[in-house]
Symmetry: C3
Subunit: 162 residues, 3 copies
Amino acid sequence: MMKNGNAVIRVVVLTISDSASRGEREDLSGPAVVAELAGINPEIVATEILPDDRDRIAARLRHYCDSEAADLIITTGGTGLSGRDVTPEATKDVIEREAPGLAELMRAESLKITPLGALSRSVCGTRGRTLIINLPGSMRGARENLGAITRILPHAVSLMSE
Amino acid sequence: MMKNGNAVIRVVVLTISDSASRGEREDLSGPAVVAELAGINPEIVATEILPDDRDRIAARLRHYCDSEAADLIITTGGTGLSGRDVTPEATKDVIEREAPGLAELMRAESLKITPLGALSRSVCGTRGRTLIINLPGSMRGARENLGAITRILPHAVSLMSE
Amino acid sequence: MMKNGNAVIRVVVLTISDSASRGEREDLSGPAVVAELAGINPEIVATEILPDDRDRIAARLRHYCDSEAADLIITTGGTGLSGRDVTPEATKDVIEREAPGLAELMRAESLKITPLGALSRSVCGTRGRTLIINLPGSMRGARENLGAITRILPHAVSLMSE
């Protein structure tokens, strides 16, 4: 039932953070995401650090989807309620189909740890054959949210290639 | 509080499946949905098998809503991540009001059985006085998801006629 | 981590109800919302009773957001499946960013009390620096839903001023 258990998954990790993009803060969440993915046999195609700019985020998402360079794009950061947080909006700008169950599951699992998990506005969805997943920006939040869905990601990606 | 317990509910069941629509596969999920509904006193107005074609699905949904022929339309199939799965998009094309709580409840209950329940992209909502519910395409998934909401459907349909 | 614990939160409470707006029914839910908020140090900037009119609801939401008069707008009523219920649609008309986790948490908590909690179509989101929360119209439903998120509202509002 769990297909694609051993296939390589091509992954792009985008850290969305004004301060990290300016080099004022070290990006800990991007590497934490990469580490968390170890169990699903990823090929990390690219990692990037982008500012909280809706158009720039959307442009990079489109680039990796439309060039068919990635099966999976994971963003970390920009999912909260601060004025600059626009990653979900950039994601909605590019996805063709929403996958709300993945975001719901991440939030439901996160809520078991902290009530603040409800404040993540993460969106998940597909463009072409690429699945896009938003994670919160904190290293801990990114890890916890991703951990909630890691084991079903191989099956999800496998379905998209049908 | 649970109104409409005994009123007849007029139901249309649409099976969305390329292979079943071509007669290459028997439609087991449509009849399973009809059987699952036995407890809510349904009048099955129509059952149809449609291919995974967004415009055709949307057209049939519109037809049954706008002719006021059904209180409830239940679709099964086309809610996953395969490239052809577009039932939620067709549903969004026609609904005027979304009812996210029904889809959330179906996914939450499904997750108690399988983590793959998070991959259902089901959408629920209303057009005119008709409630539209998406279910997954597998017989088991359709049954489990519908079972999560069956007991509140009479009340939901009753509210819509107010 | 829970910031803004002691800051004053400027709140507008909008009761959405045809019958209450015509004076045919006493508004019990609006005052219940105000009472429920006591723990978060609110300054009640305004309370209004509006009919179930999408454009009028949207206009009042825009007014309070764009004049920067409120940190938080709480609506009660119009979230169900009756034909007149359009508060979520009015809310979607004005919000710039959706916060689905708040609505999901309210419904998940409500489901622990009644399966009818799934029928709430509440939407939460932000416009400018104002957070908008939809609650059901019944006094009990409004209280229960708000109670599910009250303790994280100060942090949510605090984040928005960053």
